[in-house]
Subunit: 113 residues, 2 copies
Amino acid sequence: MESIDAIKRLAALAQDSRLAVFRQLVKAGKEGLAAGDIARSLGITPNTLSAQLTILTNAGLATSRRDGRSIIYAADYDAMSALLIYLTEDCCQGRPEVCAGLADVAGRAVCAR
Amino acid sequence: MESIDAIKRLAALAQDSRLAVFRQLVKAGKEGLAAGDIARSLGITPNTLSAQLTILTNAGLATSRRDGRSIIYAADYDAMSALLIYLTEDCCQGRPEVCAGLADVAGRAVCAR
DNA sequence: TCCATATTTCCATTATTATAGAATTATGGA
DNA sequence: TCCATAATTCTATAATAATGGAAATATGGA
């Protein structure tokens, strides 16, 4: 992963309502959520939300598909995984001080499958 | 970790020269680097770099201490670790799709100690 | 076809961020 | 004390991002 792509993803997540949107998408899973439902539940106007979803999508963190009149957005888990791996390996060079706690957390999550 | 702190850290890293600074600090280890050396090696004016170091420091990602005429900056590994754990656990809810590759990377890094 | 719903695009406004010149502060050495 | 070096703070400017009203586009149903 290129650092410029990492920066795009970091910037996409570095804003309160976008981070909230992304969390909702993660929670919603593969089925995803309609743009309108997200806007309603977060109290964001539809046009503003649309701009934020575009930013998340351009960063690679979300995908979209049309379903009838709605557009359904879903989190891209692979992109998020790639970002975390970039931060861990490239940016932090796998330093044990950074990785130790993370290995526990990620490992536990995988084992709980 | 609060989401507002995570956003601060994400924003601090979401800019090319700040990310480059942070990478250098990680590479430099606990001893850290003098502000002037960072400015020279990255070709940033000292006042601009100072502003960026302040942002990294306020986000908790760097610490500073004076040594003679120089001010030495160092990466705060704990803060970075906390951010990665936040993104993995809180934001991504430990989803295996996100965690699997990360568990490998972080685990390998820890085992290589 | 006509209408309501869902979302996006266009546009303007406001707020925030990035950058660097100039001045200031702090330290160490002659 | 005086000077050179290191870094920061002050200030202004330019660039980018966030927000929302209004209009446009797309879909499904009567």
